[in-house]
């Protein structure tokens, strides 16, 4: 039996005071330790909002959220900051490194925040992680000297430095070309296997979703489907996830019965 890592009950999040936007409308979610899950859904359906609640960047308007039996609402601001620092690793779409620091320093910053002082205690671990993400020869580079894909890999290493239980990634490859996307995704998957922390990834990329252990699909602030990929056939998965913002069709090769799955962006959903 898998251990529950994070658990949300009837989560509601409303924005605004005069005109209220209900970004989350009663979400129940349970994430197990070591799980590799994707969230998909049209732009504006509440994916980022859900991630922000799980990462303790924001508090829900209603509903309860537990991290290993500890209720979020019982924690004060300082405890939440500490929680983010030690338990959660964040990866954002626009990598968000601190340009004043080198790649290595950026990776070390969460460890400095943890201890309050600048120290080299985790230096070896940071170098190891940079090696894992394939940036061994870039550790002393100023972070704004790196390409987009390299920066994103630095931010992955940074998310891992404090050995979090859960890595939250909000469209981590949304800003990268398809080659880098593939690399970053394989890297996340590998880290998940090697280090065993749970991943929750918001993505627009069908291929990434397809390869996850679990796919959570959202619509209008609700979870409309949530299933494990190993319990479905590849075709069923593809059919499930494709209509979200792809036009699904089967293309036949010349004469032969080759089946190609083609994903064409639906302009009706311009993802952000």
């Amino acid at each position: 039996m898998d251990k529950v890592l994070i658990h949300g009950e009837n989560l509601v999040k409303e924005y605004g005071t005069a005109i209220k936007t209900r970004a989350l409308d009663g979400v129940d979610l349970q994430l197990n330790e070591g799980e590799f899950a994707s969230i998909i859904g049209a732009s504006g359906c509440g994916k980022s909002t859900l991630l922000n609640l799980l990462g303790a960047l924001d508090r829900p308007t209603a509903g309860k959220l537990y991290f290993k039996d500890k209720e979020f609402s019982s924690m004060n601001e300082f405890e939440l900051a500490q929680f983010r620092n030690r338990r959660i690793g964040f990866i954002f779409q626009f990598h968000h490194l601190l340009p004043e620091f080198t790649a290595l320093e950026n990776v070390l910053i969460p460890s400095w925040i943890e201890s309050g002082v600048v120290n080299q205690k985790k230096q070896e671990r940071a170098i190891e992680l940079l090696e894992t993400v394939g940036l061994k020869d870039k550790i002393r580079n100023p972070s704004n000297n790196l390409s987009g894909g390299q920066q994103q890999r630095v931010s992955i290493a940074r998310a891992l430095i404090n050995d979090p239980d859960l890595v939250l990634a909000d469209e981590p490859t949304g800003n990268l070309d398809s080659e880098s996307t593939e690399q970053v995704y394989d890297l996340l998957r590998k880290i998940n296997r090697d280090l065993g922390m749970a991943f929750l990834i918001v993505t627009h990329d069908r291929h990434i979703a397809e390869k996850s252990d679990r796919i959570i699909e959202m619509k209008d602030g609700k979870i409309i489907s949530d299933y494990l990929t190993r319990s479905e056939t590849p075709e069923a998965i593809w059919k499930n996830i494709a209509p979200i913002n792809c036009k699904y069709r089967i293309q036949f090769g010349d004469g032969e019965q080759d089946e190609h799955r083609v994903c064409m962006p639906d302009t009706g959903y311009s993802g952000s």
């Binding site: 601001e77 900051a81 954002f92 968000h96 620091f101 969460p110 925040i113 949304g174 952000s272």
Partner: protein, 404 residues
């Protein structure tokens, strides 16, 4: 090193132009304050020194009789008008040695000199001039007037019939060292004296009308017996003269105590208004610097909002987020003060270099004064970073990490 300090330093380093700009602002502000402050303080000190450096700061006299009191209660002009051309000797202080003995132990006193003040008419080669006669013990009077060092001719001696006269008087009468003069006292007596020396006390009216003679000889001349007319005193901190005088008034009976501050109210109020205008300028310099730092740091918070947001997402607390900007203010303040102190001292030496020569003002600065200015500037810089720091503390990390 705290990580907030590391980040603060990196932020400052990355915004080199901005940082240099604020640093120069603070440095110039501090330099102006040091220069202006030292200049005005030195000017005032030199003015005060010229006024009271070589004169009695506290003078103890016999209590006024009825007539004198009535006269002095009216204004000064009237007094001279009334007394006019009459020669006067002041009322005699008979118990003076007792008073001197009583005050001797007071550590604030740097000079105490019993004196006799009177007026007389001086005559030489058919010329007449009204003069002030001061009977002194040279050794004690030197501590106030520094006569021995300021002789232009003759010997520093007042004994018997030997007197010292001012340089201008010597010129007017056409008489120098070794010459003989006659003094006509208010009582109508004429006595002959020998000019033993000529002094220059660097004060035109003193050089023109003052004559020093031996205290004992003056007692005889003005028929005072063993009495004197005044005890002249200097103290270590002249600005305490009023306090000290008040204190002595309660200890000594039947005397009148004058002190320079009461006699120089105009000068003092001029100095006070000069000081307050200097403080006003300094205040506005600090204000301008503070506003400058505050606005540059406020812009910096906006520029760095993404980074602050990401730090918060990674677990930085509000306190840390504000500390990053408070530290920037503090660092700018300290560096700016150090550079500004150097600049200020440089400015003073350049000024001094171009204003050399006798009689020109010597500007003094004190390390404690510079330290105070530096500390005020540092405090102001830190204060200026309060608002940016608050903004940084309240920045919403979700805004910063929003995609796009």
């Amino acid at each position: 090193m705290s990580y907030e300090l590391k980040i603060a330093l990196r932020f400052l380093k990355s915004g080199k132009t901005q940082t240099l700009f604020i640093l120069m602002g603070i440095a110039v502000g501090v330099a102006v304050q040091i220069f202006l402050g030292s200049l005005i303080t030195s000017l005032q000190e030199s003015l005060v020194d010229r006024t009271i450096g070589n004169s009695s700061q506290i003078t103890i006299k016999a209590e006024d009789d009825e007539i004198s009191r009535a006269l002095t209660e009216n204004n000064q002009e009237e007094e001279t008008l009334l007394r006019g051309n009459f020669s006067v000797i002041e009322k005699s202080l008979n118990n003076w040695s007792l008073i001197v003995g009583q005050l001797q132990g007071d550590e604030r006193i740097t000079a105490i000199s019993p004196a006799i003040q009177g007026t007389a008419l001086i005559r030489s080669a058919g010329k007449n001039q009204s003069i002030q006669v001061k009977g002194i013990e040279l050794e004690n009077a030197d501590k106030i007037y520094d006569i021995s060092q300021r002789l232009t001719g003759g010997e520093p001696l007042v004994e018997g019939n030997s007197i010292l006269i001012g340089s201008k008087l010597s010129e007017n009468l056409g008489i120098g060292t070794g010459g003989v003069v006659s003094l006509l006292t208010p009582k109508g007596e004429t006595v002959r004296f020998i000019v033993g020396g000529v002094f220059d006390l660097q004060n035109e009216s003193v050089n023109e009308s003052l004559v020093f003679m031996d205290l004992k000889r003056a007692q005889k001349l003005f028929q005072l017996g063993s009495g004197i007319t005044a005890i002249e005193i200097q103290i270590s901190d002249p600005f305490q003269a009023d306090v000290v005088a008040e204190e002595w008034k309660s200890q000594l009976s039947e005397v009148k105590i004058d002190q320079w501050k009461a006699q120089n109210e105009q000068l003092l109020s001029a100095l006070a208004s000069q000081s307050s205008s200097s403080y006003t300028i300094q205040f506005f310099v600090i204000l301008a610097v503070t506003l400058g730092i505050s606005s540059v740091l406020a812009v910096s918070v906006v520029q760095k909002s993404k980074e602050i947001g990401i730090l918060k997402a990674m677990g930085s607390t509000k306190t840390s987020a504000s500390r990053i900007f408070l530290l920037q203010g503090l660092i700018l303040g300290i560096l700016g003060s150090i550079v500004g102190s150097g600049l200020g001292i440089l400015l003073l030496s350049v000024y001094q270099f171009f204003n050399q020569g006798s009689g020109s003002l010597v500007i003094n600065y004190t390390w404690s004064g510079i330290l105070i200015i530096g500390m005020i500037a540092t405090a102001a810089a830190t204060f200026a970073s309060l608002i940016p720091a608050r903004r940084s503390a309240n920045l919403n990390p979700m805004e910063a990490i929003k995609n796009g």
